[in-house]
């Protein structure tokens, strides 16, 4: 898995993605800045591409950090309740503030995402039976509980319709003005890279960390803050993208190991590529309609997830 090949792949796919869609746009159309095609390109296609790349890279890195800090390969925003906690947070923000602004939603959702993830990590610490497969099951149950609470209150408050928009990841609505929040993940990803070695050390466990002079708790909490930030920006702009944070880091780990500073760029690139592929497939399969990306990723992702599970069994 060479970084050069991944970069080339991403560039090629990006170009394809820019010119695939209901209204046909060719590179020639863009020469005329005033043309309708150029406008569609700038208002819809380009934001969509940027959103996909940032969301794909972001969710994959979030998963990578979580797996390292929890020392479990099957923990991710999907399997630790982070996504569901975020949704609960969004609901609470909508109930608290009549017309919640993006920033209000984000702040409340962030607090919930962080609290949910911390709670899961606490549960993880208490569980004696640390089987690698048992833990994500607990996380999924935990997520389902949060999700039921969300649905219950959303139903009571009659905002189900509104909520379901946050349920399914969807890029078809990505327009100028709706995705800019995702830019927050750029500095977050850079910070994650700068802290990569500390996360790797933390992944070795508390004793190794202390021996090497790291404040273990502090680093774990800091990492989870980054995870919550990324998840919240993605869910608020794109919606839920399940499994991405689970499968991409696992695939990279098989080939490149767990030295985060070395694998982080690969993980980000592969995440973006995978999401881009799913998005294009979703757009082409039932053309001129679109399959929502969360569905595409869910179907392909759960398949790969199962494969990883069985592969692990074979090696265990």
């Amino acid at each position: 898995m060479k970084i050069r090949i991944l970069i080339i792949g991403l560039v090629v796919l990006s170009i394809c993605s820019l010119f695939v869609g209901v209204s046909s746009i060719t590179p020639m159309d863009l020469i005329d800045y005033q043309s309708e095609e150029t406008q569609i390109f700038l208002i819809s296609r380009l934001p969509r591409l940027v959103a996909i790349i940032l969301a794909g890279a972001g969710m994959s890195i979030a998963g990578l950090i979580m797996q390292s800090l929890s020392r479990n390969k099957f923990v991710s925003p999907t399997t630790a309740g982070t996504l569901d906690a975020t949704r609960l947070g969004i609901l609470v923000s909508m109930l608290l503030f009549a017309n919640a602004s993006m920033l209000e939603k984000m702040t409340v959702a962030f607090v919930f995402a962080l609290a949910g993830t911390l709670l899961f990590m606490q549960i993880l610490n208490r569980i004696k039976f640390k089987d690698a497969i048992f833990i994500p099951l607990v996380g999924l149950m935990f997520g389902n509980i949060l999700s039921s609470i969300t649905t219950f209150f959303a139903y009571k408050a009659d905002v189900i319709q509104n909520m379901s928009a946050w349920l399914q990841g969807d890029f078809s609505m990505m327009m100028k003005g709706r995705y800019e929040l995702l830019y927050i993940s750029i500095p977050v990803l850079i910070i994650a890279y700068l802290f990569a070695n500390r996360f790797t050390v933390a992944g070795m466990g508390e004793d190794f960390s202390k021996n090497l002079g790291i404040h273990y708790r502090r680093i774990v909490n800091f990492g989870l803050i980054l995870v919550a930030l990324i998840t919240v920006t993605v869910v608020l702009t794109v919606g839920m993208i399940p499994f991405l944070g689970l499968i991409i880091p696992n695939i990279v780990s098989i080939f490149k190991g767990d030295h985060l500073e070395k694998t982080l760029p690969h993980t980000a690139l592969l995440g973006a590529i995978f999401l881009l592929l799913c998005d294009m497939l979703g757009r082409v399969l039932i053309y001129p309609y679109e399959i929502p990306i969360s569905l595409m990723v869910g179907v392909i992702g759960s398949g790969i997830f199962l494969y990883l599970l069985f592969r692990r069994r074979a090696y265990a």
């Binding site: 070695n197 500390r198 050390v201 202390k210 021996n211 090497l212 190991g257 030295h259």
Partner: protein, 258 residues
């Protein structure tokens, strides 16, 4: 120099380390010996600050280790615990590289690479350096962990049963390397050992623990004596002189004393 003063640890009401006060003499190998559950690992964990003590303090150069920044401490004292589960997929070389973390925070410079290379050579790991840890045998992995601690290059090295899982050849090799670290580089090594013959042949001093208390603390030759060993282990152990080494025979008491 490390001084332990009145250190205790309790689990519930059970005292597992009881008012331990010892000086770790610099530039020596000190072996901790004693029966299972005597409190050796607990004591070592508290000395290295992995675990908090309930009473007492540990002084490093007259300064309480709790007052030393952890980044600084990790350049002075290193520890390898008795059992190390690690499911991080790192190559041997990457792992040993992380031994340099206190100095370079993971971005290795030339000096770091030289230290890593040296540690790999010491531990005879060059053939395995690109293998992932989860593809190694228990003993090979143990050697990789020891190499990591050697690369950390601290004045004081604390090792809890490092010979676990190792064959005789590598056990001897590691004890010789520790001897060299002490004799040539002036380092201080504290090591928990169950094989008292390794303690007898390679260490300068021995500290014996029993039921959480220090019951012997002195030069190796003074402690490798039948009477002292009987006190520590409650069994008859015959000591024989063999080419300048004092060897303990304990496998079958019927064979002793002939």
């Amino acid at each position: 120099m490390i001084q332990v003063r009145g250190l205790s640890k309790l689990y519930g009401k059970k005292v597992v380390v009881d008012q331990v006060s010892i000086d770790i003499v610099p530039g020596t190998i000190t072996s901790f010996i004693g029966p299972n559950g005597a409190g050796k690992s607990t004591l070592l964990s508290m000395v290295s600050r992995l675990m908090d003590a309930d009473t007492g303090e540990v002084l490093l150069d007259k300064k309480n280790i709790k007052k030393i920044k952890s980044g600084e401490l990790s350049k002075k004292v290193s520890i390898l615990k008795q059992s190390n589960q690690m499911n991080v997929r790192l190559t041997v070389k990457e792992l040993v590289g992380f031994g340099r973390f206190p100095y370079s925070k993971g971005r290795l410079n030339d000096q770091d690479h030289a230290k890593v290379d040296e540690a790999l050579t010491y531990m005879d790991l060059h053939d395995l350096e690109d293998r992932y840890l989860d593809e190694l045998s228990g003993g090979q992995r143990q050697r990789a962990f020891i190499a990591m601690v050697i690369a950390q290059d601290t004045d004081t090295i604390l090792l809890d049963e490092p010979l676990n899982n190792l064959d005789m050849k590598h056990s001897v090799q590691i004890m010789k390397i520790l001897r060299r670290l002490v004799d040539e580089l002036g380092k201080t090594v504290v090591i928990v050992l169950h094989d008292i013959n390794f303690a007898s042949v390679y260490s300068d001093r021995i500290v014996a623990l029993k039921d959480g208390k220090v019951i012997k603390d002195g030069l190796t030759n003074d402690i490798i004596q039948s009477t002292a060993l009987k006190e520590i282990y409650d069994m008859d152990i015959h000591v024989q002189q063999l080419n300048n080494c004092r060897i303990c025979v304990y496998f079958n008491s019927a064979l002793q004393g002939e």
